[in-house]
């Protein structure tokens, strides 16, 4: 079904073996590789760890946003520290983030010139041998060899597909080519030797922007990035073709033809004792933006459900149908400190269909939204349309979008409502 990716986190399993040869090659890079720790101020203990690597002589260290996300959200509660190859620890400052590409820059104090990682100026070629580095334990740097497999297909925000076992705790570590130049940053794994990297050009952009003007406020920087990213995503969704497609031969539903929205189907045709025959089409964006361990955004889910009564009275069919639509939930995780509660509105709506003008549908439509507390102007929205014009058939059209502006949300809702009809 859905492919889920686990972010490479923190917790320590040590099954990695570094080839001796590789270790020799990269021995000289060790001083520029760090373990990044988030220390809870009150308890004085670390609350999460990851890796980081120095990219400038004046002490800029690149890591993953998700490694330091708790600090970015609650700077008063934590401090960030590095641990170098000689076991030296010191505090660093968060200077810039790219929340969309899961990158962050922190700065350490330096005395004199220091060695640092060179960022590559070209993309690797498919099949090229790469080395993922990390410093998850107090043992020092580990090296994992692997292969570059191009960019991940169907992704909205680019990720490199890396065949090699990226380990927990290696998040934020660099991936270098044979000439010791950084081509990516460890970010996630989906198990079985499949790893994902942030392409190095994202880091280059972030670093260059930082050198031009350092952001004054991290929270505001994040808000701007989220707003810009949803604009890009919604523009792609609204401007691409909405292919009208049949569902169970009875309904017309829109399929948005963009590669990063993937669709799956299911039905209960095999269950002979079911009272209602149901066919479901489910399309979603397979990626989302990590803001904190309890707060994700940027997800898009679209679902269509066609239902047909089998030997049921109309009333009973509608009664069961109501139970089906009564508990739609948010598409993303968010807590009390992140968002407001949902505000909802419902009405009877008969859209003038763009797909099939003479077989319009009559819906009970429900729209709900909740606002982000730290990123004003962003909302999670939910729409649910339930057809109420056929005695024995029903069509549910539903979507959720997380982290979207009001304008984009309403443009999408309007287009979506008019794209659904009976066949």
């Amino acid at each position: 079904m859905k492919a889920f990716f686990t972010l490479v986190f923190i917790f320590l399993t040590s099954t990695t073996f570094a080839s001796e040869q590789a270790e020799e090659i990269f021995a000289q890079l060790t001083p520029s590789l760090y373990q990044i720790k988030l220390i809870d101020k009150a308890s004085g203990e670390k609350s999460s760890i990851g890796s980081g690597f120095q990219i400038s002589k004046d002490g800029i260290i690149a890591t993953n946003y998700h490694v330091i996300s708790s600090y970015a959200r609650h700077p008063e509660k934590y401090r960030i520290e590095y641990l170098d190859h000689r076991g030296k620890m010191a505090e660093v400052a968060l200077v810039s983030v790219d929340v969309i590409n899961d990158l962050a820059l922190v700065k350490r104090r330096v005395e004199g010139e220091m060695p640092y990682f060179q960022l590559s100026d070209q993309k690797p070629i498919k099949g090229e041998k790469l080395f993922a580095l990390g410093n998850p334990h107090d043992l020092g740097m580990i090296v994992v060899p692997g292969t570059y497999n191009g960019l991940k297909k169907e992704s909205f925000n680019e990720r490199i597909h890396f065949t090699g076992s990226i380990n927990s705790g290696m998040s934020g570590g660099p991936v270098v080519n044979k000439s010791e130049k950084v081509v990516g940053i460890n970010v996630a794994t989906s198990g079985n030797q499949i790893g994902f990297l942030v392409p190095h050009d994202k880091l280059v952009t972030l670093f260059n922007n930082y050198n031009k003007t350092a952001p004054a406020n991290i929270k505001q920087q994040m808000a701007e990035q989220l707003l810009a990213n949803q604009n890009k995503l919604m523009k792609a969704l609204l401007n691409n073709t909405w292919q009208s497609k049949e569902l169970a031969g009875k309904a017309m539903i829109p399929i948005i033809e963009v590669p990063f929205i993937r669709c799956w189907g299911d039905s209960n045709a095999d269950k002979t004792d079911a009272l209602i025959l149901a066919a479901i089409a489910n399309c979603s964006l397979d990626e989302n933006t990590y803001l904190s361990s309890h707060f994700f955004t940027g997800s898009v889910e679209i679902e269509f459900r066609y239902m047909q009564a089998k030997n049921l009275s109309d009333n009973k069919f509608y009664h069961l149908y109501q139970q089906q639509i009564a508990r739609a939930g948010a598409g993303n995780r968010a807590g009390k400190n992140d968002v407001s509660e949902y505000q909802c509105h419902h009405d009877l709506v008969a859209p003038s269909s763009t797909a099939n003008t003479n077989k319009a549908i009559n819906n009970k439509s429900i729209f709900c939204t909740r606002a982000y507390k730290d990123f004003s102007g962003l909302f999670d929205v939910l729409y649910l349309g339930a057809s109420v014009d056929k005695n024995q058939q029903a069509l549910v059209s539903h979507f959720t979008i997380a982290g979207v502006s009001q304008e984009n949300a309403m443009a999408f809702t309007g287009k979506f409502m008019e794209a659904v009809s009976w066949k």
């Binding site: 069961l320 939930g329 968010a334 949902y342 505000q343 909802c344 419902h346 009877l348 429900i366 982000y372």
Partner: protein
């Protein structure tokens, strides 16, 4: 044992006192024959017994020589006597252990010894109370049968009760049928309908029991008939509420109004329950009906409120949908819906700021 001893001793005391007072009593005999009504009443002034006596001297106490014999152990064997002379009744306490109090509209509880008795006075002796009335006491006006009476007569008819219980079971069975996710058979539905009606029978049965215990007529069939008629009406009000919710948008005023319907029905049911089961003043009956309703709905609200989580990550919307036959209202356009939904963003932003 000790207590008994004490009582015996007190009894002796009383008796000795009586001997002395009797001599005084004999002095003034009146020619006119007195007539008096003495009611034994309970603490909340419910009538227990009524005595109508035509004599000039009445003795009240615990022993069997008295004209009115009371069983209260706190009363002396010869507790008090009432005497009639020249159209006036006097009370004399025979030096009883616990005394005698007189209460009327003018005076709150005073010592009754040697007091003049007026119409309507309440004498407290021991833990018992007696109300004294004269034959010219004003009785309240006759209450005409209210129109409810004929309605209740109709509803409490065994056939009517049977019909309403059956109808209730049909409805309960139908609800059970609608809620079943899998195929069901008749016997399952019957069992659930039967147990549902048994459960709902507890209310009229309870009311009848209470009215029986408070010395009122239980009128069990009337209670059953009325209660089940109202249970059915409440189901109809639910249905009506559902139809309104289905046909209207979330900002509808009608939806709010219709929510009052079950409350009104509940008040009416409780009012009728108390009308059938208990004798009380019209004002009191309204207060009782209103307070039970407040208790029921307020309690339900409190229960829901206490269960409410601090933050609800799920949307809370009204998803009422019904078969197309119930669809009466015209549908709106997408533009109108979008316009209405736009207001939500402002509300949500405000909520986000408020909660901070």
């Amino acid at each position: 044992m000790e207590v008994e001893m004490e009582i015996t001793q007190r009894t002796e005391d009383c008796t000795s006192e009586i001997e002395s007072t009797k001599a005084v009593d004999n002095d003034d005999l009146s020619l006119e024959q007195g007539e008096i009504i003495i009611e034994e009443i309970s603490r909340n002034h419910k009538l227990l017994h009524r005595h109508k006596l035509k004599q000039n001297e009445i003795s009240i106490g615990r022993n069997y020589q008295n004209d009115i014999i009371l069983t209260d152990p706190h009363i002396c064997p010869k507790h008090l006597s009432l005497k009639h002379s020249q159209g006036i009744w006097h009370l004399s306490d025979n030096n009883s252990v616990n005394g005698t109090l007189l209460e009327n509209n003018l005076h709150k509880r005073q010592n009754a010894h040697q007091q003049v008795i007026n119409d309507g006075d309440v004498i407290t002796l021991g833990k018992s109370q007696l109300r004294v009335l004269f034959n010219d006491h004003q009785v309240s006006d006759t209450i005409a049968f209210s129109p409810f009476e004929s309605l209740i007569d109709l509803i409490r008819h065994p056939i009517a009760v049977f019909i309403s219980v059956t109808l209730f079971m049909l409805i309960a069975g139908n609800i059970a049928y609608l809620n079943q996710q899998v195929e069901t058979n008749i016997s399952q539905l019957f069992v659930s309908a039967f147990s549902m009606s048994l459960l709902f029978s507890l209310w009229p049965a309870g009311v009848a029991l209470v009215s029986h215990l408070t010395k009122n007529e239980p009128r069990i069939l009337a209670q059953f008939g009325i209660s089940f008629v109202f249970f059915i009406l409440m189901w109809f009000s639910d249905l009506l509420e559902e139809i309104v919710a289905f046909n209207s948008a979330s900002s509808s005023v009608l939806g709010l109004l219709i929510a009052l319907l079950p409350i009104m029905l509940a008040v009416s049911l409780f009012w009728l329950n108390s009308y059938i089961g208990f004798h009380m003043s019209a004002k009191r009956r309204i207060i009782v009906a209103l307070s039970i309703t407040a208790l029921l709905f307020g309690g339900t609200y409190l229960l829901q409120y206490s269960k409410k989580r601090e933050f609800n990550p799920h949307p809370n919307y009204n998803a009422t949908i019904m078969a197309p036959v119930f669809l009466i209202a015209p549908s709106n356009s997408v533009d109108h819906f979008i316009k209405q939904s736009n207001d939500l963003f402002e509300q949500a932003s405000k909520a986000a700021l408020d909660e901070d």
